[in-house]
């Protein structure tokens, strides 16, 4: 009996080590925070819960590093334990830790004093970890729900701001719609194949004759699932929520929305397109191509006359997601490498830019949660040369100018597109890149040449960790251009394990 227990422990518990350690962290924070917050003296525990969360993530990273992901078929193979899930989980955890450390200062500036904030962030991360290793449509749906329910609550976590409540409600209603699409697609696939786990679906989907009714049903189901995933990625026909939600929610939540969930959702999309439905590549090619084309136009034209920084970056994120989709639509192994490369560069640049926006804090600001405009950037850039210089680097990288990582990502994707003779795609990339560089260059002009008319506001100095993150990501953007193998090696390991 005792041996039995040890075997059981080794087989079932150790393999989920990271997830279990993260959930224990969440439960511990819940108990600790609720017992200290209800004391008579009413202590402030935001700082303590934040540090607890960071320690918990640190422990989770160590556990993840030491988990042996070679055994398969535990839990009736509803989870996938391969190298690529391990690496992606590691990246999710690192970026979540950055978000949590950054949000400490932002939350105290915005006067959000709820320890639930950190718990919700961690629960969303837990959902993303499960999403990364889901190998069954039910785990996929449940983890996606777990993640998005927490994000709805994060969006409206500034309870006395109507903008924030509005953002939360909008996100909730539209997110429910996308969940409905996802479930409908799953039900179509279940109706045709009779399975929900990816391995069985892969077997039964591969041998369906083209032009049969079942084949068409399966394609329709996949289209619904792709639409739901596009919604989560805010890719163009499904991007409508993103500018409003990005603008309304507190900036610490926006930082999390913009950076962390994109990677696992993309990895699920890639896994579906390349492994599970490998015989339906045409469908994924078309869906990704049209999604990318529309988002390129929406992303570049939408941001053109935007004065609010958060909305501008939301549109810019739409247009950057489309580059990843362009690479995905070529549907080769090399293009997938480029898609991951672009995604990682995007994540680093976004962390840099949102940290910059989050650090636009003024001493005598009467409305602290108001959304930041280009004017604030002008005032801040006069005060801090670090903001000015790193803003320049980040914007040039997003714009795609040579000595930076963003240029490399765009150029490599463009080269891949040209080598597959997809000239329409290449034309659209060039056209929209020119348009979007107009507003990136406009922001840079604001950083360097604009004269601040209203200098009465006192700029709060940057917190230490923000400075650190700004410095590191600026250096990374330069380093990746000089030596791309820094991340290409990691991506190679991911790709080899997917195929």
């Amino acid at each position: 009996m005792q041996l039995n227990f040890i075997l059981f422990f080794q087989e079932y518990v150790l393999i989920l080590g990271p997830e279990i350690s993260l959930s224990l962290t969440i439960l511990f924070i819940a108990l600790y925070a609720v017992f200290s917050a209800t004391k008579k003296s009413k202590p402030l525990i935001m700082e303590a819960t934040n540090w607890l969360a960071i320690v918990g993530i640190g422990i989770t990273i160590v556990v993840l590093e030491n988990t042996n992901y070679s055994t398969s078929n535990v839990y009736s193979s509803i989870f996938l334990f391969t190298t690529h899930t391990k690496i992606i989980k590691l990246i999710i955890l690192i970026f979540t830790a950055i978000c949590i450390i950054l949000c400490k200062n932002i939350l105290s500036h915005l006067k959000i004093n709820q320890f639930e904030y950190v718990m919700l962030t961690l629960t969303a991360t837990l959902g993303l970890l499960f999403l990364t290793s889901s190998n069954h449509f039910m785990t996929l749906y449940l983890s996606l729900e777990m993640q998005s329910l927490c994000l709805f609550a994060l969006a409206c976590s500034k309870r006395d701001s109507s903008m924030s409540s509005e953002a939360g409600l909008k996100y909730f209603v539209l997110g429910a719609l996308s969940s409905a699409l996802l479930l409908y697609g799953i039900s179509q696939i279940y109706g045709v194949t009779g399975h929900l786990d990816f391995d069985s679906i892969k077997l039964s989907a591969a041998h369906l004759p083209t032009h049969s009714a079942q084949f068409k049903n399966l394609c329709a189901g996949q289209l619904f699932i792709i639409s739901a995933l596009f919604f989560k990625l805010s890719v163009a026909p499904f991007h409508v929520w993103s500018p409003d939600v990005y603008e309304g929610s507190p900036i610490s939540a926006t930082l999390y929305f913009a950076v962390v969930p994109k990677l696992p959702v993309f990895s699920v999309l890639f896994y579906l397109g390349f492994v599970v439905f490998s015989s339906y590549s045409e469908l994924y090619t078309h869906a990704a191509f049209y999604g990318a084309c529309i988002s390129m136009f929406i992303g570049s034209f939408g941001a053109l006359f935007q004065k609010k920084l958060k909305r501008l970056l939301a549109f810019s994120s739409v247009s950057h997601m489309s580059f990843v989709l362009m690479a995905f639509s070529i549907h080769t192994k090399e293009a997938l490498t480029l898609a991951f490369l672009y995604l990682f560069i995007y994540m680093i640049t976004t962390v840099l830019l949102w940290t910059l926006i989050a650090s636009l804090r003024f001493e005598n600001d009467d409305n602290r949660s108001r959304s930041k405009t280009v004017l604030d950037l002008v005032v801040a850039s006069k005060n801090s040369s670090l903001i000015r210089f790193s803003g320049l680097i980040a914007l040039f990288s997003l714009c795609g100018l040579p000595p930076l990582a963003g240029f490399m990502g765009k150029a490599l994707i463009f080269k891949e597109v040209m080598s597959h003779e997809a000239y329409i795609m290449a034309g659209i990339i060039i056209l929209t890149s020119v348009i979007s560089s107009v507003y990136y260059l406009g922001l840079i002009k604001n950083l360097y040449f604009e004269v601040a008319s209203n200098n009465s506001r006192i700029f709060k100095p940057l917190p230490l960790f923000s400075t650190f993150i700004i410095f590191v990501s600026t250096v990374l953007l330069l380093l990746i251009f000089i030596d791309p193998n820094l991340i290409i090696d990691i991506i190679k390991r991911i790709i080899d394990s997917i195929f």
Binding site: S23, A30, L31, V34, A37, T38
Partner: protein
């Protein structure tokens, strides 16, 4: 691949028929077998402490909803125990401890709701 709809959907049809019949029997029995003595107070609608047909801009008490949501939450979790209890012989030690873990996490959620004051009326 051919579907034989008779064999696949027979149980669904059966469920539908039995469900409708059972609902009719329960509703009908309580309608016909009970003694009815209506007055205004009994006939007035009562929903979460306020009249449902009023101006939409009235204030209402959000505590009713909090209690209702908590009730649904914990009630549904209790429902989850039934299929677990029925299938306990087939799911072995792993199934048993899964439910143990589930109950533990539920208890922590309950402690959280209790301490934060979601169950207090005043």
């Amino acid at each position: 691949m051919t579907y034989s709809y008779h064999s696949e959907y027979y149980s669904v049809l059966l469920l539908l028929v039995v469900g409708i019949a059972l609902a009719l029997i329960i509703l009908g029995a309580s309608f016909f077998l009970s003694f009815q003595n209506p007055d205004t107070e009994k006939l007035s609608a009562y929903e979460c402490g306020f009249d449902p047909y009023e101006d939409a801009r009235n204030q209402f008490d959000v505590r009713f909803y909090v209690v209702a949501i908590l009730f649904i939450l914990f009630d549904l979790e209790a429902m989850y125990l039934f299929p677990w209890a029925v299938s306990l012989s087939q799911i072995h030690v792993f199934g048993f401890w899964t439910m143990g873990d589930f109950i533990l996490e539920l208890v922590i959620g309950f402690v959280y709701a209790w301490k934060i004051g979601a169950l207090d009326w005043e």
